[in-house]
């Protein structure tokens, strides 16, 4: 596939996995030290442990998962007994402190073992062969052209496009560590991104996969050896969060190419993320500062942030995501519609639809940047907005001395988050399906301008008709504006967006939410545009939010 293929054993993830035990030891020591730094001063360790214990026991009672270890309850009972017995007023301060430190070590060790991922290069090679074959097999089945498992007609690589400065990113991956930050719409994102990056020769990335995904045996089988570390969103206790951050920072410092979804979870409303979760992104900022602390400026390894916008014509979880969003915004009572369909079932159906139609997926890579958002050239140098090389080490300096300043770095991370949101929008490859959904929903909104969004969503089907002429006019206006934004690098247009308006409309309607039983958009026999499911239409419409397009419809 690429030059990287030949030296799989030298990949950073392979190297790190080889020294897995040592790495875990380092993370445990580092986490305990950070935790003590934060809390020991105020004598708060005991309080934080008690809080952790309380939250963990609540989790076990209210939200147990299949993937949870069998001894979960015993372990936390043990922590409880120890903590109760170590009351400083009874045992004396020193004994109590010793017990607290031992408990802290036990808990951190348990978490580090849970979180730490594993990357097996042999398994990676196996998966690289097998996964696309399964996908392609599904494709040919969907066409009814079973040609034998080894001779698929259409390949996954024909459906998945990776665009952007791939060569530069490859070069920089040799000079520093790539931190890939994609938008997040679907549970399949990590699989798609992982496959896409390998396809263009960027190798494997470690990423935080939700622990819940490991409830599925298929996912567990494939993914356990492919580099993901495990993230448990139920655990919000201070010890876990500190461990997770230390894990992320330490592996980045060891050079692990890392993938973060800075949106945190999948976009509920279907829009490109606006508010990023900055916790893990903050560890990237810290890691860059630590590199500068440990090395002279010119030799310090650099972290290269690469934003990535994923474009799908359809998101298989769209229905449950938008319902979740509407429920959260809280104006209507919804019945939970997430039926907990299995990962395998979802995945099969997804690929079946993907291959069975003209649909495709684009992974649009942005230009690599330093942690301050300056674009990096082929040599890895930061180029400021005036086109000059900039020494970013100085951002971590105060009066000539480099030193850590948590508050300063948190602020830098906030600024980086804002830049990423802009880049997500700029790199977004706009599909016909996004545009038709946007225009249709905006027209309906205008038609019923007195109604709030919730009443609009309950509108009976016969009121949802949009005359075709009206739709074409609006599409023409929007397309003009999209061309303007495209020319000004505010977004990118898919190739099919350059066709005639009628063709774009046909293409868009055919593809929008292709997967769903109820069509978000369709053409009636008597020439109207209508929708069978307004919530889905809203979901796909939201994809085009953030460009100020409403006035151009």
């Amino acid at each position: 596939m690429d030059v990287l293929n030949s030296n799989l054993n030298d990949w950073p993830l392979t190297r790190i996995s080889r020294n897995r035990e040592k790495l875990m030891e380092e993370i445990i020591i580092e986490t305990i030290s950070n935790f003590n730094k934060d809390y020991q001063k105020g004598g708060l360790i005991r309080d934080e442990l008690a809080k952790t214990l309380y939250l963990e026991r609540t989790r076990i009672k209210t939200e147990p998962w299949k993937v949870d270890p069998e001894d979960d309850f015993q372990f936390w009972s043990h922590v409880k007994n120890k903590l109760v017995k170590s009351d400083p007023s009874l045992e004396g301060k020193e004994v109590a402190q010793d017990i607290e430190q031992q408990l802290l070590k036990d808990i951190v060790t348990r978490y580090v073992h849970e979180i730490t991922g594993y990357f097996d290069p042999r398994f990676f090679l196996f998966a690289r062969q097998v996964l696309p074959m399964i996908f392609s097999r599904l494709l040919n089945a969907s066409f009814g052209k079973i040609t034998g498992i080894f001779k698929p007609k259409v390949l996954l690589k024909d459906k998945l496009f990776v665009t952007g400065p791939i060569e530069r990113i490859k070069q920089l991956s040799q000079k520093g560590t790539i931190i890939l930050v994609p938008t997040h719409f679907s549970n399949l994102d990590s699989v798609m991104v992982g496959y896409g990056m390998d396809m263009v020769g960027l190798g494997a990335f470690q990423y935080g996969a939700g622990l819940n995904l490991f409830n599925s045996s298929l996912f567990k089988f494939f993914m356990s050896n492919l580099g993901p570390y495990k993230l448990d969103r139920r655990k919000k206790n201070p010890v876990y969060l500190e461990t997770l951050k230390t894990y992320s920072r330490t592996t980045i410092l060891h050079g692990a190419p890392t993938l973060f979804f800075p949106g945190g979870t999948r976009s509920r409303a279907g829009n490109i993320e606006k508010n990023l979760k900055l916790g893990l992104l903050g560890t990237v900022m810290e890691a860059q500062r630590i590199h500068f602390e440990r090395n002279p400026s010119t030799l310090a390894p650099k972290l290269f942030i690469v934003p990535l916008t994923i474009s799908y014509h359809f998101v298989f979880e769209a229905g449950s995501l938008i319902e979740d969003h509407l429920r959260r915004t809280g104006k209507e009572q919804y019945i939970t519609s997430d039926k907990g369909t299995s990962f395998l079932k979802n995945m099969s159906k997804f690929f079946f639809e993907l291959f069975g139609a003209t649909s495709d997926i684009t992974l649009s890579l942005g230009e690599p940047m330093d942690v301050f958002g300056n674009i990096c050239n082929d040599q890895g140098e930061s180029i400021d907005k005036f086109g000059k090389v900039l020494d970013i080490r100085k951002y971590f300096e105060s009066k000539g001395a480099l030193k850590a300043d948590d508050q300063r770095e948190a602020e830098y991370t906030t600024l980086l988050g804002k830049i990423l949101v802009d880049k997500f929008h700029e790199n977004n490859v706009v599909y016909s399906s996004h545009v038709v959904a946007y225009v249709a929903f905006e027209l309906l909104k205008r038609k019923f301008r007195k109604e709030d969004i919730y009443s609009l969503l309950r509108m009976p089907e016969e009121d949802r008709y949009i005359p075709y002429d009206e739709f074409v006019t609006a599409m023409r206006n929007i397309r003009e504006r999209l061309y303007y934004l495209n020319n000004n690098q505010k977004l990118k247009l898919a190739f099919h967006m350059t066709k005639e308006v009628d063709e774009i409309i046909d293409h868009g309607i055919r593809n929008v939410g292709l997967y769903h039983a109820k069509k978000p958009l369709y053409k009636t026999k008597d020439g109207y545009i209508s929708s069978e499911d307004l919530k889905l239409l809203l979901f796909y419409h939201n994809r085009m939010e953030g460009y100020g397009l409403a006035n151009y419809v």
Partner: protein, 353 residues
């Protein structure tokens, strides 16, 4: 205790030797060496030889210079104090010399407005969206590589500071480090400095109050007393808060020194240019006549226009600002304006927090 930054090794920089820049330089010089930048060599000469500038006696630790590069190389902490009209240009000129480790705290109360070609701010047809205006901290971010920015704002009339009277100010920044270094550098026995994280709120407080100074002049010119003035200031504050909030500021910031503090100082200082414009309007002069006979255009005229246009685009109702705008630009008489205000239906007193 003075910070390390104020030691002889790292002087503090001030850009702009106008009346406020000079006053700030003198305040900073009480704690250590200060480099004061001016582009005019004659100002440097005057300070060196006469030990005075813009009517103020210069502290001996203030060293005037026209060398921007040298100033940026020697100072980590710099206070730009340039009028808003020329601010962007000075930042562009400084940009090649400014590094990522500089801390910049500006002292400029004004907006940088970007209008389409041929449009002017005073033109009735000109529309303004929040995106068209920049505060000075945004200008610094746009024109330089400096990220650690802040602002200094409060009831700080240069003449009173120069006269050695006690006063206080706010230093605002998203960065604790900037607030810490700024307050340490400027605090003295006669000058107190408070910190804030709401950079935008503190910046807006300093700008938006100018519109109220003009209205205060009208109240003064009508010969009204303290009840009316208090009415104006309190309701004016509520308008400033509503506009500030809509622009993204924290409402609380307007309740501090840089908000209500500055508003009181500005509205009750009869010598300010803004107040004078309002006063003369109330005495029956026309705006054209006032502008024609003034050496400088009062900032407040521009600010009223900006506030009105922003309020229109944000769809918020600001009766005092709207009436002042009508009096200034649409020939509404002062009496008519007052009548309108008194008849304006208003709900509760505090509706802006």
């Amino acid at each position: 205790m003075a910070s390390q930054i104020t030691s002889k090794k790292n002087p503090i920089g001030v850009l702009g030797a106008g009346s406020f820049g000079t006053a700030i330089a003198n305040l900073l010089a009480e704690n250590g060496e200060v480099l004061l930048y001016t582009r005019r060599p004659e100002v440097v000469d005057r300070i060196l030889h006469e030990k005075r500038n813009v009517g103020q006696v210069m502290n001996q630790h203030v060293i005037p210079t026209t060398d921007l590069e040298m100033l940026c190389a020697r100072c980590y902490l710099i206070f730009p104090s340039i009028p808003s009209d020329g601010f962007r240009e000075v930042m562009k000129n400084s940009s090649p010399f400014l590094r990522p480790d500089h801390l910049l705290i500006h002292c400029t109360k004004g907006f940088d407005i970007r209008l389409d070609e041929g449009m002017t701010l005073l033109d009735k047809k000109t529309k303004l969206k929040p995106a068209d205006i920049n505060t000075m901290s945004s200008v610094i971010i746009q024109e330089t590589n400096v990220k650690r920015v802040g602002c200094l704002s409060g009831p700080n009339l240069s003449k009173e500071i120069a006269g050695g009277q006690p006063a206080a100010t706010v230093i605002a920044s998203h960065f604790d480090e900037v607030v810490r270094e700024g307050t340490m550098a400027i605090r003295s026995k006669r000058f107190q400095a408070y910190g804030s994280k709401d950079l935008l709120g503190v910046e807006l407080g300093g700008v938006l109050k100018n519109s109220m100074a003009l209205s205060a002049g009208i109240v003064g010119g009508m010969g009204y007393g303290q009840n009316s003035m208090a009415f104006l200031i309190s309701r004016g504050l509520s308008e400033i808060v509503r506009l500030g909030k809509a622009l993204g500021a924290e409402p609380e910031s307007f309740l501090g020194l840089a908000g209500i503090g500055d508003l009181i100082a500005t509205c009750t200082s009869p010598l300010s240019r803004n107040y004078t414009v309002g006063y003369r309007l109330a005495q029956g002069e026309t705006l054209d006549n006032i502008i024609a006979t003034s050496t400088e255009v009062a900032e407040g005229i521009k600010t009223v226009s900006i506030c009105k246009k922003l309020a229109d685009s944000l769809d918020i109702r600001l009766p005092i600002i709207s009436i002042t705008y009508e009096i200034l630009f649409n020939e509404m008489s002062v009496q008519e304006g007052l009548k309108y205000l008194m008849e304006y239906r208003k709900g509760s007193d505090i509706d802006f927090l």
